[in-house]
Symmetry: C2
Subunit: 159 residues, 2 copies
DNA sequence: ATTACTGCAAAGCATTTGCAAATGC
DNA sequence: GCATTTGCAAATGCTTTGCAGTAAT
């Protein structure tokens, strides 16, 4: 399992170096195999910016020397989600969207109606209030998701 | 355009009586036609509890005397959304989920991992904090969505 | 050696669309 | 009467799956 890591941007290489061992541990605990295809997918995930959709990733890996088939990309993303390395977002599209969670603390999103841009924000108080609501209702929170739809500053200014 | 309204439960009949004229206005403003199929779909929407998916609704209307085809159900739901009579929720499934918004103020959801139940809650303070975050970022909020995933009280107790 | 994983292409499934027939205006 | 809407069935597009071959342990 050795793919070309020489020509990756510094930042990507570092993310992969941190994330890959975690994924390996996860796979070993699961008695799953550490394969080349899985490393290629993980590397590709960390080579992209925050948001991406499974199918685009699959398309990127459908040709070139680091080829991985569509089916395997989907299967690996599911494993990475299980391992806590990516998080699913499905609010704008019907398509599944993922983002890194590695080195990426919990946060919320605003999505611009005009340009489709995702803007991240977070607010400690909101998290606490949600926790309070859960306590009131006897609901045990695993995670939450907030999406705000509207117009971003740039698009608002353009008008 | 007359479908049987006699045997609808009182509550449903009342919702339909309030919502239908709004939809008619909406259609007229759009120079769209007021058709029997559209009334059947609207009635079916209000005959269901909060949450439903487009396809289930279509299935329900695929037989019987108030038959409406799948294509028309989807097309009508899109119109109802545009008219502000239903709201899209796409968080749990890849499937599109709708809920009434008519006589149903804005609220958030908790979704139980175990039983799939949707629990509604709302919190004025959270809304304000989100509004503040938007202001800080120059984002003009149109709407927002909060989904909390976890285990509901019943399922937690069962364990 | 054994068993899991991959690639491929085919199958699934919700949703959308094209077009002829039906319906509202 | 004319334009929109409907129904139907076929198409679409993302995702999943079956299976034979390949790679990891």
């Amino acid at each position: 399992m050795s793919i070309d890591e020489q020509d990756l941007p510094e930042e990507v290489r570092r993310s992969v170096e941190e994330a890959w061992p975690l994924f390996v541990d996860f796979l070993k605990k699961k008695d799953a195999r550490v394969t080349q295809a899985r490393k290629i997918v993980l590397t590709q995930v960390f080579s992209r910016h925050d948001h991406f959709c499974a199918d685009d990733l699959a398309a990127e890996l459908s040709s070139g020397m680091n080829h991985v088939s569509r089916g395997t990309v989907y299967r690996t993303l599911a494993l990475m989600e299980e391992a806590g390395l990516v998080r699913v977002i499905r609010d704008t599209d019907v398509h599944a969207h993922y983002e890194h969670t590695f080195n990426h603390p919990h946060h919320e999103h605003m999505i611009c109606d005009k340009c489709g841009q995702f803007i991240e924000f977070s607010d400690e108080q909101i998290m606490e209030l949600i926790a309070d609501s859960c306590k009131d209702l006897g609901f045990e929170e695993r995670t939450h998701r907030i999406v705000v739809f509207g117009t971003c500053a740039e698009c608002g200014a353009k008008k």
